[in-house]
Symmetry: C2
Subunit: 447 residues, 2 copies
């Protein structure tokens, strides 16, 4: 059936209709680079020299028949869809440098998996690929049996079922959660790693739940309650102290929803605390208890873990906010690129608010140019940045640098280490460098 070229114009006023010539490069975003040029030079396009592609002959081979999706009826609907079998992206365990053999080893860590940032688009992380961090495995919880208790410095201690929480006024918000240990290998010598290995402990979801302040009103939180213990019902019983600042009271949620459906088991099903911008472990999963007090509760997670060891031997406690950070996700570690045009893409975020600017360098930080930020830029959320680039076979060091609305600028590795030393595990947020070799191999380096 050959499409007819004659036809009618729009039969309904105001619904699109005709008119509107093709733009001739007048809109600002269309000036951004000479697309005809990069397409002609940068992408190995096939020109269109045969109609066989469009209209196959009746006598085509059987093998073509079986693989041509237009010749066989497709699959029926499914109650709950799955991705294409051709897509293989996966979370993976942490990679440890193994200096004795000169090779890196992927460790089957029972409590960590990392998001494949190099494979993802936009800012939403698919829930199936959201990073995992737990301390004694993912508990299996029946939501009908689960309870949240709120007690301590309150007038009316209360126990809530999940269904009760779902009936209360709700809020949704797109926000990142980043493990404070994300990029922990940045404190060490550079290994030949992927961006999943180096930065895969951060993910973004649309979270839905009830505001913490709604529940604190319900229990009658007392005026002198300035800290809150949040406890999970996993086998580690992870519990953390949360300062009840104005920011926390305005923004914290008790979540039951993630990307439209229920929280995933790895993300705290059926309930988790969400404190946007705070380090991952504060967003206590499988949440069962909130206790109000006048001081931090000094749990073992606040002494044996999650402190920052400084060069003078002292350790910072309660360094809760994730500072501004960014990373180029493509091209990135262990990828192979070829000469020509390719868009540099990455993610930037700040636990203090909105990203205001991302700069990209392709020469190891000698010169910087501003990247395009995907709108809308949301506070405390991954922001996608993009930068056009043509690689012509030269060595290059690719970097990105994030600015946030407080005026903070993501530090160089040198500047970060000047202040923090190299004994920390957590809160590494330096500018990251990928080196493109002459053969197109991309490697993780420190510069």
């Amino acid at each position: 059936m050959k499409p007819r070229e004659s036809g009618q114009s729009d039969g309904r006023s105001g619904t699109g209709g005709q008119g509107g010539d093709l733009p001739k490069g007048s809109a600002p975003e269309r000036r951004e680079l000479d697309r005809r040029s990069f397409l002609a030079r940068g992408v190995s396009l096939a020109t269109f020299g045969t109609t066989a592609f469009l209209y196959r002959t009746a006598g085509a081979a059987d093998s073509e028949k079986t693989t041509d999706p237009m010749r066989v009826p497709g699959a029926p609907p499914r109650p709950y869809g799955e991705r294409s079998p051709f897509e293989k992206q996966a979370r993976k365990g942490r990679t440890e440098p193994s200096s004795s053999h000169g090779k890196d080893v992927t460790v089957a860590d029972p409590f960590i998996s990392l998001t494949p940032l190099q494979d993802l688009h936009g800012v939403v992380t698919p829930s199936s690929l959201h990073f995992e961090r737990h301390h004694n495995g993912v508990p299996a919880i029946d939501p009908a049996r689960h309870r949240l208790v709120i007690h301590g410095l309150v007038d009316r201690p209360l126990i809530f079922t999940v269904e009760e929480l779902k009936r209360l006024p709700s809020v949704s918000r797109l926000t990142f959660i980043e493990c404070s240990g994300n990029t922990w290998l940045g404190w060490q010598d550079a290994q030949d790693l992927t961006v999943q290995d180096t930065h895969g402990l951060t993910s973004t979801s649309e979270w839905t739940g009830v505001k913490l302040s709604t529940l604190l009103d319900a229990v009658g939180a007392r005026r002198d309650a300035t800290w809150m213990l949040a406890e999970g019902s996993d086998a580690a019983g992870l519990d953390r102290s949360v300062p009840l600042t104005d920011e926390v009271l305005n923004e914290a949620l008790i979540c039951y929803g993630q990307n439209g459906e229920a929280l995933r088991p790895e993300q705290g099903y059926p309930l988790r605390l969400l404190v946007p911008g705070f380090e991952g472990n504060i967003n206590v999963k499988w949440l069962r208890r909130l206790k109000l007090g006048t001081a931090p509760f000094m749990t073992r997670w606040e002494t044996a873990k999650y402190t920052d060891l400084m060069p003078d031997g002292k350790a910072y406690q309660f360094s809760l906010v994730m500072e501004a950070k960014s990373v180029i996700t493509a091209p990135s570690g262990r990828q192979q690129i070829h000469p020509g045009f390719r868009e540099i893409r990455g993610l930037a975020w700040s636990g203090r608010g909105r990203v205001t600017k991302v700069e990209v360098s392709v020469d190891g930080g000698r010169t910087w140019q501003e990247a395009r930020l995907q709108e809308p830029v949301l506070p405390k959320c991954h922001s996608r940045f993009r930068f056009p680039w043509r690689w012509q076979g030269q060595e290059a060091i690719l970097q990105s640098r994030c600015h946030d609305e407080t005026g903070y600028v993501q530090p160089s590795r040198e500047d970060l280490i000047k202040v923090r030393g190299t004994h920390s595990i957590y809160h590494y947020n330096a500018v990251h460098s990928w080196k493109v070799e002459r053969d197109g191999k991309v490697r993780n380096v420190h510069v």
Copy 2:
């Protein structure tokens, strides 16, 4: 281990720290309703009278041991996560009223499945629950073999591979896609249906791809090319004519990403057209061909289907934009509610731009009150609205009414039918009514 109450204050300046009394209801949103009151009266809360919930005794029964998630190590990480086995939300086939037996029948339609809007949170639709509409099943396509050809009124016809498209400048956008047949039963007498049955052919995703205008620049689209044929590589070979208006050229994408990962097979893997705000079938899936011309191509999908039959016997063609619409998703059809507080929640959207206001009525449209809109409100995207409500056992008719940035107001059913009659299948967007009976049953009605 009992948490200690003594402790240290924030050891790091500027990272949260102490200070900040609990707010005492001063923020505007905290005045919105008397939460202590609705909690005390509206939710059957257990008061906190025993420590057994928190600190179980050593001699607990074996049965409790096996179900207590704190007593057994949890599951290890998974490469690609799945939802909790307690969650059963599913897409379903269409429901047809069966007047002969007075019962509705769910039809195992081979080409349709509907999104369970009543079960979802926020605005992102999980990709696994995005509605499906195809015309000869979901094709299985190997992305390495797939091509997109652009020809017709162009200087340089070109063929693109999927990998080539992925290297070009990209854009991401949260936007809804709604089948023009969504709410087709609204033209008929009211049946006792769920919101999934009535409105389940609309979903929102974050889509990522390359701008159509980038590709049209590459092929050298000619000045007189004002229409474009888009053809899918499914076994139906669905093809539609798209007017190349300024709006389409500014906004249309060729997508390969959905909610962070690759398009799902039901959504056009590996490539689909996205024209934000246009009826679903224009967003051609499994996209293989774009042909530029000077007039609509008058395919069979533009005559045998997807036209709007008017009372005078004439049919509108190319009524492509989805007008403003909204629906309350909870409480909604076939749900059972109980006296007390519950938040009324719903979705509103407009193919013409941003939703500016949603009004809710609980008395069948006699009085209206403004609902709270979840920020950010994005153009041509589902917007979540919420409205606090206490049900006290009376009959009630719940309605919502959407306003968009063009000044358009979602019409009443009566006003819509005055203009459109009742012979249409597509583009029904009237205010929807749910009746709450005295026994708390919620039914789909026309008022």
